[in-house]
Subunit: 441 residues, 2 copies
């Protein structure tokens, strides 16, 4: 029989167990924090009807999707978790209770060109609150982001906050209402293009030198939150745009409420340069960066939108949400050394009979350890001691419980510490508490 070379398509991440354990640790943190804040889980099919999923999408999306015919169905794999959410909310409208707070952690698929750290299959971790107009919910998003990244323990980070009404209102005051979407898209790129390109692209849109200068000055306003809020309020006084005034009011309230949550001022900032490319944001927008690794770009973004599901229902559904692209983030965190592969097994200890005569005792001791909350692997292969210890060593176990004939006679076990090499004989009955003490630090 000829062998088939085992391999996977490019752009699809696949981890070894040690990496998967770390990846899952991050997923669990995200899930725990989302639930702590009362977001309820949902899941949607990996495949949706193309006619339903692609109502809103333009040409670029169409090129990137995995779409095919099966039987009488034209199907597309979900390419984000937002369009399925809109469909879900509209479809189950009468069964849901609003405000609807959901989280969704799942894989999405985009057939873009694969490159380092950009995947065709990746996990997204989204929260959204649908059917809420409360600004307190806008303030909750940075709090949730903060709780997650604090527990990830990946260094200092900052949540950048802006408001689309401020930007659009300011464009309006410059007389640029009719091209505000295009101006926004250029502002969104400001950190990725040179100052010259920035000017050129705005000129190409028809902005005058004065308009460009005023825009540049505006989005470069910086300082502490209170300094910025102060400046915004001053501009507000002379600004003819009601949208601008409303945005300034909102961002002020968001800042105040974030402080009410008790978040340190060092963890978030008002950043007038944050635009977010996507069309549908209408209020607060968020981006999150690692202070020591700005090159990674935003690791958690989102914003407030006016109407989630307008393609599917006449019900007006405003909301706000953020998303973590976990596969890309994990890749980057490994790359910068912020993730250490510390565990190679779900087990914390391994129990090994020395000969087949000690399997019964080993099975029982392993079960007892599990009942005290210690994840325990049983190793019953018929190998010599050297091979057994080599296995434990390669698997990265610190503690090995060895059970031999002599030990059974004296109701003891042999404990070997693979890091120090030391061996201890210990009464079987004392094993649980000894290991609990060593492992559950």
């Amino acid at each position: 029989m000829s062998l088939v070379k085992p391999r996977i398509p490019s752009g699809f991440p696949e981890y070894l167990p040690a990496e998967q354990i770390e990846f899952n640790r991050l997923v669990n943190i995200v899930r725990r924090v989302y639930e702590e804040y009362g977001f309820s889980p949902i899941d949607t099919p990996d495949l949706e009807l193309s006619e339903v999923l692609l109502t809103k999408s333009g040409g670029e999306t169409e090129q990137q999707i995995y779409r095919f015919i099966k039987g009488s169905n034209d199907l597309t794999m979900r390419f984000d978790l937002t369009v399925p959410l809109a469909r879900y909310v509209a479809q189950h409208e009468s069964e849901l209770i609003f405000p609807f707070r959901r989280y969704h952690i799942g894989k999405v698929h985009r057939g873009e060109r694969a490159q380092a750290g950009r995947f065709r299959e990746f996990y997204q971790c989204d929260i959204d609150v649908i059917g809420s107009n409360s600004v307190a919910v806008d303030a909750e998003m940075p709090i949730v982001i903060n709780k997650i990244f604090e527990q990830f323990d990946i260094g200092e980070f900052t949540v950048h906050i802006n408001n689309r009404k401020i930007l659009n209102g300011f464009f309006e005051s410059l007389g640029l209402s009719n091209i505000s979407k295009d101006v926004l898209r250029i502002v969104d790129k400001i950190d990725k293009i040179s100052a010259n390109s920035f000017t050129e692209e705005l000129e190409r849109l028809g902005l005058s030198a004065d308009q460009i200068t005023r825009l540049r000055e505006f989005i470069n306003i910086n300082g502490s939150k209170d300094v910025i809020l102060n400046k915004l309020e001053k501009i507000s006084l002379n600004c003819k745009s009601d949208q601008f005034k409303q945005g300034v009011k909102e961002v002020g309230l968001v800042v105040k409420t974030i402080r009410d949550f008790g978040l340190s001022d060092s963890r978030f900032m008002i950043d007038l340069r944050i635009a977010r490319g996507l069309d549908y944001y209408t209020g607060t927008v968020y981006e999150t960066t690692l202070n020591n690794h700005p090159e990674i770009g935003s690791i958690c973004s989102g914003g407030r939108y006016d109407n989630l599901a307008s393609h599917y229902t006449k019900k007006y559904l405003p909301g706000v949400g953020v998303s973590i692209g976990l596969s890309r983030l994990f890749y980057k965190l490994c790359e910068i050394g912020a993730i250490e592969l510390t565990r190679f097994s779900s087990a914390e200890v391994v129990v090994m009979p020395i000969g087949s005569g000690q399997i019964t005792a080993s099975v029982r001791i392993a079960e007892r350890l599990r009942s005290t909350g210690i994840n325990t692997m049983l190793y019953t292969e018929e190998n010599n001691m050297r091979k057994k210890l080599k296995y434990a060593d390669k698997m990265g176990f610190e503690w090995v419980v060895l059970i031999g004939e002599d030990e059974l006679l004296t109701e003891e076990v042999m404990l070997k510490n693979m890091l120090t090499g030391e061996s201890i004989r210990i009464k079987s009955v004392e094993l649980d508490s000894f290991l609990l003490d060593k492992i559950k630090k």
Copy 2:
């Protein structure tokens, strides 16, 4: 703008949050038990190269798969977690440590005809130990199954155990070696077809009346494990098949070791009728049934196989594993009423300011509750009290924390129990311990 009707393809399950919370509770139990026994997580891509995934499959599989071309790739969605495991193990052979114990919880896709309780997209929860010849590992499978279903709390269940070597050895002793696969497939159907059909199908294979009688007598041997083991050993003495003798020895050892694990004899049985349709099993096989709902069929099955990845590598990889088809099981458990929808939110309590003047205090109190481990939802919509309480009621919250102007002055909160209707005023500082006591029973 014309609206698109929100809907999903048939055969794709989608839950409301209350169902999803219960489904996830089961997933978490499975994951916790798998990790308790030292199985490490892996995940594989949803899409594999068709050339790699379909090496082993026959015509039936080809019809059921979701396969398509994207760019230069011929891709197929995974239809089980076993073929991807074989590919994974062969591909990462040099980086893995054997015996390799992995668990995998993930969605698979089969484009079969959708019907009630049979899905095109469903979750499987698999464990396998690859590269192990130890019979103690065979015994571990029923232990793991048992731990999971005990925690599911879905009534009494039984793990049925048999060994392919016993069946094949017995067929051999009847002179049926050359058609043992076909005989096996008919034995596998015995509970689904009539006694007449059973006889007819065997006759059609060419079995004599005497062979059929002896086969029927054999697979109907019953009684306690010790009675069956005794009978098997007696048959073994006069049986010319070494395979049979080996199977009897193995099943005896598996039963002994399961008892060593401390599992009650009522939770497992030797059942010579268990065959398992799939070709690749070669030793111990498992099926699990609910005692009060045999009509559901097996809820967890698996077995030992000789060589997992023979299509991908020359390395000999024996192993043993079991799989829970969780989506179908969940559907059936809901149907028989074994699953109750008890929670409608990930939050255990909701905090509501009565007016906008109490948002600051509410935010702080919600954060304090979270810091004590209580999942807390904050409700800050500007509604009147009636609407606020209606929301809490529909969401199924037992306790609502209301914060009003009066309460702030006296440093108190109002606690409303939605089940009894009673209202309590309580000092803010005592709220944490009061709720912890009520909620974390």
